[in-house]
Symmetry: none
Subunit: 425 residues, 2 copies
């Protein structure tokens, strides 16, 4: 499989003032063409540093992509760096100058003299036409390794890559495919999950399996390399079915699937409705649910019952229960869920009550303690969760919201299986 380095130039990138999205986009395009990116490098607007990185890349990979530094101002140094790396001079490329003049003429303006530099090319290089801007791209061989320099403006870069570079790379690629698939899980920590699939994660294996975790979600990424697209797809399918067999219902989706999207699809499929009663999550569950287009079919609404008074006034929680058990208790979590289901007239309801911190914790009820209530057609329950007394507020809230959604998902899956199996309710 061919190997690439992807380079980006720009002082604003190097200083961290702009997040570079071009490099990831290009690496994903290369993967889709069956070319593996081995390294990303970002350098400031500095011709010598850029030249050094180009020379290193030329000996280490099969194709180099570079973005940025093709503009008309003094900090645009990619043309010079390419010429230096190739050991040649820059010369004026008349067709590119014509394109520049025509670009400005089409906008009713005369070309500023400054832009002439954009028509300079290293000798023996080829210009790549820019259909959406001024700067032409440049294709040049460095010690025999093809190097493509593209504009830094993302939409110009993408158009030029698709038009000018991708066709050439298809010819360069050896037909090999590098495909990727992600399975999303909830309910098992990254290390416990890793333990169950350890043999699949051994280095050097194909397909390659890796995990990434954040706020309760663990994603399992599968990368398959194969001589053909069909072979790579077959490897992914095999790995996915193996993972599903081992991990069962903790896998809630793949690729673009989200937890609220899956919950929504299950609600829509069963014709059931949902409402929420949120204390410590303060509307986050509602936000996640209504992020899904079409959620009005099943979402009846919710209450943000942060203050005790709101719990009582809006959701008919018994003030004596709040007094006796405290607002953060399984009793109140159940009362909130039941209250929401009744007030909003929904089949299911999820609630949260807890201590998101940073203040408000006690030894008995520490920061990170959250009770999640769940009302279903068969009853009302509550689950106690500890999300860590040192965890930041956002982390506790997000984990609580996701845990509530996952409990709903498991309940709905159970209900669907139950209905399909014919045992009815």
């Amino acid at each position: 499989m061919r190997r690439a380095w992807v380079i980006s130039t720009g002082t604003e990138l190097a200083l961290g003032q702009t997040v570079d999205t071009n490099t990831a986009w290009l690496a994903a395009q290369l993967a889709a063409l069956g070319i593996r990116t081995l390294r990303h490098i970002t350098v400031p607007d500095d011709a010598d540093a850029t030249r050094d990185v180009l020379l290193q890349a030329a000996t280490a990979c099969d194709v180099i992509l570079l973005t940025g530094g093709l503009g008309p101002t003094d900090d645009d140094l990619t043309r010079q760096a390419l010429a230096d790396a190739a050991g040649v001079q820059l010369h004026l490329h008349p067709p590119s100058l014509d394109h520049l003049r025509a670009f400005f003429a089409a906008r009713g303006r005369e070309m500023p003299e400054r832009n002439t530099v954009q028509a300079l090319l290293p000798q023996a290089a080829t210009a790549l036409p820019n259909t959406c801007g001024t700067a032409p791209g440049i294709c040049i061989a460095l010690s025999g390794t093809p190097c493509y320099a593209l504009p830094g403006v993302p939409f110009e870069m993408r158009a030029m890559f698709e038009r000018e570079v991708a066709p050439a790379l298809k010819r360069l690629a050896d037909g090999a495919a590098l495909l990727s698939r992600t399975l999303h899980t909830f309910g098992l920590g990254e290390s416990d999950l890793g333990e169950r699939i350890r043999d699949l994660m051994v280095r050097g294996r194909n397909p390659e399996v890796g995990t990434t975790a954040g706020f309760g979600l663990v994603g399992i990424r599968i990368n398959a390399a194969a001589p053909s697209h069909a072979d790579a797809e077959a490897l992914l399918d095999q790995a996915e079915s193996d993972l599903r067999r081992r991990l069962g219902s903790i896998i809630f989706g793949r690729d673009g699937d989200t937890l609220p999207g899956v919950v929504g699809a299950l609600l829509a499929a069963t014709g059931r409705t949902l409402s929420t009663a949120e204390s410590c999550t303060g509307g986050l569950i509602g936000t996640l649910i209504t992020d899904v287009a079409g959620s009005s079919r099943y979402n009846r609404g919710g209450a943000i019952a942060y203050a005790n008074q709101a719990k009582v006034a809006i959701l008919d929680v018994d003030p004596e229960e709040v007094e006796q058990c405290g607002a953060v208790s399984d009793v109140v979590a159940r009362a909130l869920a039941l209250g929401a289901a009744r007030k909003f007239g929904s089949d299911y309801a999820a609630s949260t009550t807890g201590i998101a911190g940073p203040a408000g914790g006690t030894p008995e009820k520490p920061v990170g303690l959250v009770f999640i209530g769940l009302h279903t057609p068969t009853g009302t329950t509550a689950q106690k969760c500890l999300f860590g007394s040192d965890a930041p507020r956002e982390a506790i809230r997000l984990r609580a919201a996701r845990t509530a959604l996952d409990l709903l998902r498991l309940e709905l899956m159970h209900a669907v299986t139950h209905e399909v199996s014919g045992s009815g309710r």
Copy 2:
């Protein structure tokens, strides 16, 4: 000025499946400490490639930062790469193992055996405590160049950088300053705003001024380079006061300030309370408000009244008004805000009702139409907004939520001025 390289590891980053935001964040932090980042490098999960990059970095800069690869699974290879680069062995670090066991114990779980690897350290390295996760960071000298390896999970990485790394880097920096400040604005488009401050945005000027925009917010970034911290600070102060004079109340804060944080501070300062009634934003305003620590002082709660039935049942909206004017109307927006203020017993209330799309638009009421209701001690009003019929659902929701918060902010600022000026109410 000291120079840094910032390295990130992860096959998902190298293949472009995840955009690396850690590197930019770290480079910005380094700049704030007066350290200039010369290179960012991303490598896949590959111990040899990581070692090679570390060795190259050690001869080329004054400090190395690295993120990722400290997890418990077999694709977490940073510990090994650091040991290889330093030419030493890994050994078990008992205090880190104690921390790991305590981390799991605090969450009511036993530590999986797998996590023991996270307590391995290269000889002569120092462990950096992780206050929000399992993996300790690692500090080690490579050919005399200090190298800090941090977790890849952004919130763990940021907390560890601020607590453990920044103080050490302050001592390393040589006094030169590269300072940055951001002013946050709401209410004016990026190009209109750019027109008003065009002379300040000329390239090559020090301080350098640039803008970035997203979902209604426009940030104005000021970068100042100077031989000393005090000189750079003075340049920033001068630019900030110039910008404030030109832009007035559209500037709502700077640096870490957020719109809900500023609204919360104004509510807390005036002793007033708030509630929300959200239709198309589905809980997003509530989420933004309760993201702020201490918001329980002024946040009385909210209703997510997505379905019309909920608007009527929970917030006492007159069903005839919904019938006559439609749920998406200024009449209903006002009724929602008034209903929330009454139900939750708050001084202020904000409401939304609109069409977030992608479906549900009509020629009279297109996707992107949102009415924002505002109840204040002096009355109840509604504002009509058009956020674009081709805008994505999340964009419409976020702009609506932010517009509601900004209207609250302006009302509260007006009230504060009014009270301070002694004219009373």
